[in-house]
C-alpha cells in the first residue's frame, strides 16, 4: 500500500495505539481488559504498521524471529510465575500466600503476581498475533512467486 495518507495517519496513530495497548495490559488487574485485550491492541498497531508501509519495514521493527521468541517468553513468564509460587511454598499460581506484595488496592503496583502474569500474557498474545500475521502474509507471498 503506497498511499501517502495512510502512511502519515498510521505513523501518527501507531505510537498512541501502542501506548494504549500497554496501558490496557498494565491495568489488567484494575480495569476491564488485561493481557489479552492489550496484547491484541498492541499487535494491531504492529500489523497496521506493516500493512501501511510494507512487510519488510514491519519486520525491521519486530522481526519474525524476535516475535516467535517473545511468544514463548510470554508463556514462560506466565508458567514461571506459577512455578515460582510453588517454589515459594504455596499452591501453583498462589499469590498472596507466596509472599508477593499486594500493594494498595487501586494503585498500579498492586495485585502481586497478577500484574506480571498479565504482562506475560500480553507479550504472548501480541507476539502470537504478529507471528501469525507474518506467516500468513509470507505464505501469500510464496504462492505468488
Amino acid at each position: 500500500m503506497e498511499d501517502i495518507i495512510v502512511r502519515y495517519i498510521s505513523r501518527i496513530i501507531v505510537p498512541f495505539v501502542q501506548l494504549y495497548g500497554l496501558y490496557v495490559i498494565l491495568h489488567g488487574h484494575l480495569s476491564p481488559g488485561g493481557g489479552f485485550s492489550g496484547g491484541a491492541i498492541f499487535a494491531a498497531s504492529m500489523i497496521l504498521y506493516a500493512l501501511s508501509f510494507n512487510l519488510s519495514a514491519g519486520t525491521k521493527k519486530l522481526s519474525h524471529d524476535v516475535s516467535s521468541v517473545l511468544e514463548s517468553g510470554g508463556a514462560l513468564i506466565f508458567a514461571g510465575m506459577g512455578l515460582l509460587a510453588v517454589l515459594l511454598g504455596t499452591n501453583f499460581l498462589g499469590n498472596r500466600a507466596a509472599g508477593f506484595p499486594l500493594g494498595i488496592p487501586g494503585n498500579l503496583f498492586s495485585g502481586g503476581a497478577i500484574m506480571v502474569i498479565t504482562f506475560g500474557v500480553g507479550i504472548k498474545v501480541a507476539s502470537t498475533m504478529i507471528t501469525l500475521f507474518y506467516s500468513l502474509i509470507e505464505g501469500e507471498g510464496h504462492s505468488h512467486d
Partner: protein, 495 residues
C-alpha cells in the same frame, strides 16, 4: 509443604512450561529438544506414579490452583480414574516419543522438528489436565488446547492429505467445542457452578425446575464430546486424520487422544450428572446403541481397507466403541472393562501404529496386499504387530482379552446378553481383518520392497519390544492395573 504436594499441578504445568521452552531450545540447542521432552515425559510418568501410589494408599484428594477453594478457584481432583488416565497417558506417551526421535526426522522437515516436541508436550499437558481437572470450564480449555495441538500434530507433515485431514478435523472439532461450550453455558446458567462436585450437588434440585436446559446441555455434551471421541456416526474425520499423520502422531492420537474424551464423558456422566437422572434419561441406552453400531460397522469398514494405517484408524472407531459400550452398560464389570480398555487399547493401538510406521519407514509400503512376508524380513515389528493384532482379537495372554472378558461379563451382569454377543462378533470381525495380515506376514514369501527393508534404528525396535512385552505382561498379570481400575469403577458407580 514439600514439592510432592504440588505434583497434581506440576504434572500438567511442567509439560506446558517446557512446551513453550521448546521453540527457544530448538533455536539454540537443537539436540537438547528430544532429551528434554523425554525428561519431561519421564517426570510426568513418575509423578503420576507417585500420585497413583498416594491415591491408592490414602484415597482421593484435591488440589486448589492458587490456593483458592472450589467455588472461586480451579480444582484438580486426584481420584482413581484420574491417576489411571494420567498413568496411561504418560506411560504410552513416553515410548511413543522415544520411537519418534528416530522416526520423525524421516517424516518431517528439518525446521519443524522443535515445534513437533512443543505440540507433543502441549498435547500431553492438555490430556493430563483433562484427566485431573474438576472444573467444567477448565475442561473446556484443555479440550480446546488438545484439539488444536492434535490438529497441528497432523498438519505438521505439510503434505496435502495431512493439511486436508487436519482442516476437516479442525472444523468438526471446532463445532464440537462449540457444542461443548454451549452445554457449559446452559449448565452454568441454571446452576451457577462450574466445579464438578458442586454441580453434582446442585443438579438434582435444578433438574426439577429447568429440565429442558439440562437435557439440551446433555445432548450438546454428548455430541460435542462424541465428535471428538469419534463415536460412531460422528467418526468421519478420524480415518483421514489418523492415517495421514506421522506415525508417532497417529499412535498418540488413536491411542490416547480419542480416549481422553471418553474419560471426560465418563467423568461428566458418572460424576456430574446424578446417577438417578442418568437412569431417567436414556443417555446410557443411546450410548449403548451407538457404541454397538461403532463396534460392528467400524470393524466392517476396517475389513475392506487396503491401506494399513487406514485400517488401523477404522479399527480405532470400533475400539472406542468398546469403551463406550462399557460406559453405556453401567454395570460394575462392564465399566471396569471399558476403563481397562482405555489403557489396553492405548497400548496395543500405539504399538500397531508404530509397527505400521516401522514398515513404512523401512520399506515405504503402505498397501496391505504388498506387506506379504514382512514377518520374515522384519521380525520384530511384525512380531509386535502380531501381538497387537492378537490383543485386538482378544486372545488370552494378551491384555485385550481382559477388557473383552469384563465387557462381556458386564453385559451379562446387566442382563443384556446381546451386547456380550456383540463383543464376541466384533472379535471375530477383528480376526477377519487382522489375522490374514499376520498370516501373510509370517508365512508368505517376501517380494519387492518388502524383501530388502532398510535398517530399522534400534530405538524404534526397542520401543516396539517394550510395548509388545507390555501387552503380554498385562495380559498375564492384569492385576497390575486392575486394582486401580476396579477402585475407580467402584467410586464412579458409588459402590
Amino acid at each position: 509443604m514439600s514439592a510432592a504436594a504440588h505434583l497434581p499441578a506440576l504434572t500438567v504445568v511442567v509439560p506446558l512450561f517446557f512446551a513453550y521452552l521448546m521453540p527457544l531450545l530448538a533455536r539454540w540447542r537443537k539436540s537438547w529438544c528430544a532429551a528434554t521432552t523425554l525428561a519431561v515425559l519421564a517426570f510426568t510418568f513418575f509423578s503420576s506414579l507417585y500420585l497413583a501410589n498416594r491415591v491408592m494408599s490414602s484415597g482421593p484428594f484435591v488440589y486448589h490452583m492458587g490456593g483458592w477453594a472450589p467455588p472461586w478457584g480451579i480444582e484438580f481432583y486426584v481420584d482413581y480414574l484420574a491417576v489411571f488416565t494420567a498413568l496411561t497417558i504418560s506411560g504410552i506417551g513416553l515410548p511413543v516419543i522415544v520411537y519418534g526421535i528416530k522416526d520423525l526426522p524421516h517424516e518431517l522437515k528439518e525446521g519443524v522438528l522443535g515445534w513437533y516436541y512443543t505440540l507433543y508436550l502441549l498435547l500431553m499437558a492438555s490430556m493430563l489436565g483433562m484427566a485431573l481437572t474438576n472444573d467444567l470450564f477448565n475442561l473446556f480449555v484443555f479440550v480446546e488446547i488438545c484439539a488444536i495441538a492434535s490438529c497441528a500434530i497432523i498438519s505438521i507433515k505439510e503434505s496435502r492429505e495431512c493439511v486436508e485431514a487436519a482442516f476437516k478435523y479442525l472444523v468438526l472439532s471446532a463445532v464440537g467445542s462449540g457444542c461443548l461450550l454451549l452445554a457449559i453455558a446452559l449448565i452454568y446458567m441454571v446452576t451457577g457452578h462450574l466445579n464438578f462436585t458442586f454441580l453434582a450437588a446442585t443438579l438434582p434440585g435444578v433438574m426439577a425446575v429447568y429440565p429442558k436446559n439440562i437435557l439440551a446441555a446433555l445432548a450438546l455434551l454428548m455430541v460435542g464430546l462424541g465428535v471428538k471421541a469419534a463415536l460412531f456416526p460422528l467418526h468421519v474425520w478420524l480415518p483421514d486424520a489418523h492415517s495421514s499423520a506421522p506415525s508417532p502422531s497417529s499412535a498418540v492420537l488413536s491411542g490416547l487422544v480419542i480416549k481422553i474424551y471418553a474419560v471426560a464423558m465418563i467423568k461428566l456422566l458418572y460424576k456430574v450428572f446424578p446417577a438417578t437422572f442418568a437412569g431417567m434419561a436414556p443417555v446410557m441406552a443411546m450410548l449403548l446403541w451407538m457404541s454397538t453400531l461403532a463396534i460392528i460397522i467400524g470393524s466392517m469398514f476396517a475389513i475392506v481397507q487396503e491401506d494399513i494405517k487406514k485400517m488401523l484408524a477404522y479399527s480405532s472407531i470400533a475400539q472406542i466403541g468398546y469403551v463406550f459400550l462399557g460406559v453405556g452398560l453401567a454395570s460394575h464389570n462392564a465399566l471396569l472393562g471399558g476403563i481397562l480398555h482405555i489403557f489396553n487399547h492405548a497400548m496395543m493401538k500405539a504399538m500397531l501404529f508404530l509397527a505400521a510406521g516401522a514398515f513404512i519407514y523401512a520399506t515405504g509400503v503402505r498397501k496391505l496386499s504388498q506387506l506379504k512376508g514382512i514377518g520374515v524380513t522384519m521380525p520384530v515389528p511384525a512380531g509386535a504387530f502380531a501381538i497387537g493384532a492378537m490383543a485386538m482379537v482378544g486372545i488370552p495372554v494378551t491384555n485385550g482379552f481382559w477388557s473383552k472378558w469384563y465387557l462381556a461379563l458386564g453385559a451379562l451382569d446387566a442382563g443384556k446378553p446381546l451386547f456380550a454377543a456383540v463383543v464376541l462378533v466384533s472379535s471375530l470381525l477383528n480376526g477377519i481383518y487382522y489375522l490374514p495380515i499376520i498370516v501373510n506376514a509370517f508365512f508368505s514369501k517376501p517380494e519387492g520392497a518388502v524383501a530388502k527393508p532398510g535398517r530399522l534404528p534400534a530405538v524404534m525396535t526397542g520401543t516396539l519390544v517394550v510395548l509388545g512385552a507390555g501387552c503380554i505382561i498385562f495380559g498375564i498379570f492384569p492385576s497390575l492395573v486392575l486394582g486401580l481400575v476396579s477402585r475407580a469403577t467402584r467410586l464412579l458407580l458409588g459402590l
